[in-house]
């Protein structure tokens, strides 16, 4: 009996550590940003507080997306084991079944970490608040989460074409989490085009941050782009849905 209680306590330790790991995992990039700014005064034309604001917007959006659709990472497992056949037969949305298979509470750790830094960044970066900016601040994280979620679904759909697509999908999903934490001015022209238009990460943090800070874009993009994130999110969802449907139609089962 005592050993059973002890074993549960042990597992609880493990759960707490899992949450801690999620918080830490989200904080790595923040540590990297802060370390870099002990050495230089600006990065890509932005100062520390401005970059931290972009990081916080990206982190909160990523945490929310991870919480909502993170289970899509299990798609290769569902395909490999043939589980997907069962899901396809049920009269429910396939995607909805996959992402609701398991709500990993530990993922709240990421959201909490992101929100904490976002609150700090919004309070300290000297934003000149207007009704429009309040609206941008409130909508940017959920809109960014929708963009990330669309990127995740689209990227993980490669598993319908590749046998082991998980790593390839990870490079897109975690890569976009990393890249959106920095101003897109730090990337060369080619990477920037990919980040702006192919994987629309720039609309998660960079453009909303410009809107909040009310500062000119060093790259000279039109001002309207700053408020275009919801539109981009809608288009991203549409594209992701098309890719997902094409994948499901192509799926023939593993024969196991």
């Amino acid at each position: 009996m005592a050993s059973r209680i002890r074993s549960q306590l042990s597992y609880r330790t493990s759960f707490v550590l899992d949450v801690v790991a999620q918080v830490l995992g989200q904080s790595i990039e923040l540590v990297a940003i802060l370390v870099v700014f002990t050495q230089v005064g600006s990065l890509g034309g932005f100062d520390r507080d401005e970059v931290v604001l972009m990081y916080a917007l990206a982190a909160t959006a990523f945490g929310l997306a991870d919480l909502a659709v993170g289970q899509i990472e299990e798609l290769p497992e569902h395909i490999r084991t043939g589980e997907l056949d069962v899901l396809l037969l049920r009269p429910l949305g396939t995607l909805a079944q996959i992402i609701s298979a398991d709500v990993a509470l530990k993922r709240l750790g990421r959201v909490a970490a992101g929100l904490a830094v976002l609150g700090y960044a919004l309070a300290t970066s000297g934003i000149d608040w207007t009704p429009v900016r309040v609206l941008v601040a409130l909508t940017a994280p959920p809109v960014g989460a929708v963009i990330f979620a669309a990127v995740w679904v689209a990227a993980n759909s490669v598993s319908f074409w590749l046998v082991d697509g998980r790593e390839v999908a990870n490079s897109v999903t975690y890569g976009s989490n990393f890249s959106t934490s920095y101003p897109i001015t730090v990337y060369g022209p080619w990477l920037r085009r990919i980040l702006c238009f192919a994987v629309p990460g720039a609309f998660v943090a960079y453009f909303p941050a410009l809107a909040l800070l009310g500062r000119p874009d060093p790259l000279g993009f039109p001002e309207a782009l700053r408020y275009a994130s919801p539109l981009v999110a809608a288009v991203a969802v549409g594209v992701a849905a098309l890719i997902w449907r094409a994948g499901v139609r192509r799926y023939q089962g593993t024969g196991s």
């Binding site: 830490l24 540590v31 370390v35």
Partner: protein
């Protein structure tokens, strides 16, 4: 040791385990290729950030643009050689009780796991270290060693980094003797280890107090030291000595922990 068993018999399994470790990971070529994609994408993004940092100051703590880019690509390549994440086998076998079988075999469990890990690392050097470094060297300014002897120092430093990493992973996995489930411990290590060992940002860019604190830990031995040896930053002999010291200390500590943990396992009944 019985009279008719020679030292050769005792040591014979370990080279075979090194080969087996190599072959086991060489089987998953497609996985290695896919993992390489992730390494290269992150290499491109990190290199871009470092270049932007060095636009502000041409040399930062001894790193110019070529050295910083070399830092990124070597780090991406060494990631799976040194291995921070994904080594959960021992803790899983402790949780399921299979470790009893491992302990009963006529080998030294720690030495056997180390041999397998060295084989794994050997394959990772070919499949995961060489390609990103070549990609980085072709597409970006790159800092090659100027002295031929640096290559030998680098090889020794990578080998020691793998042993230090193994020593840490062995201890973390062995925590399952007490916690039963080491996943949380390993997860915390996976994220904290990356940033504190200089994989994400060179430790030399950290504030002085953080550098001083980390110098007392085995963390710089994992990535910072092998990379610095390669780009010929600092004294290689001192760095290798520090790595060797940590390797011995961690392996010795691992033996003590394994003995204690194994004793506990018997009390619990497996």
């Amino acid at each position: 040791m019985p009279a008719d068993v020679t030292w050769e018999d005792v040591l014979a399994p370990y080279p075979q385990l090194v080969r087996a470790g190599f072959r086991r990971f060489a089987t998953y070529r497609q996985a290695a290729l896919a993992g390489l994609t992730t390494n290269i994408v992150f290499g491109l993004l990190r290199a871009a950030v470092f270049v932007a940092v060095l636009q502000q100051r041409p040399v930062l703590a001894g790193y110019d643009v070529a050295a910083a880019i070399t830092y990124v690509w070597l780090g991406q390549g060494l990631l799976t050689v040194v291995l921070l994440w994904g080594d959960t086998e021992l803790s899983r076998r402790i949780r399921t009780g299979d470790v009893v079988v491992d302990l009963g075999r006529p080998w030294d469990l720690q030495a056997a796991l180390l041999a397998t890990d060295l084989g794994r690392a050997g394959f990772a050097v070919l499949a995961r270290l060489v390609p990103p470094v070549v990609a980085g060297a072709v597409a970006f300014p790159f800092r090659w060693p100027t002295e031929p002897v640096t290559w030998a120092f680098f090889a020794a430093s990578v080998l020691l980094a793998v042993v230090v990493s193994f020593g840490i992973r062995f201890l973390l996995n062995a925590s399952a003797f007490w916690l039963l489930d080491a996943r949380g411990v390993l997860a915390v290590w996976g994220v904290a280890g990356g940033v504190l060992s200089g994989l994400v940002v060179p430790l030399a860019w950290f504030p002085a107090w953080a550098q001083a604190a980390l110098a007392w830990t085995p963390l710089p031995s994992l990535f910072q030291i092998p990379i610095d040896v390669f780009i010929e930053r600092g004294n290689p002999m001192g760095a290798l000595a520090a790595q060797a010291g940590w390797a011995l200390l961690l392996l010795a500590f691992g033996r003590v922990v394994l003995r204690r943990g194994a004793g506990r396992l018997v009390v619990q009944g497996g």
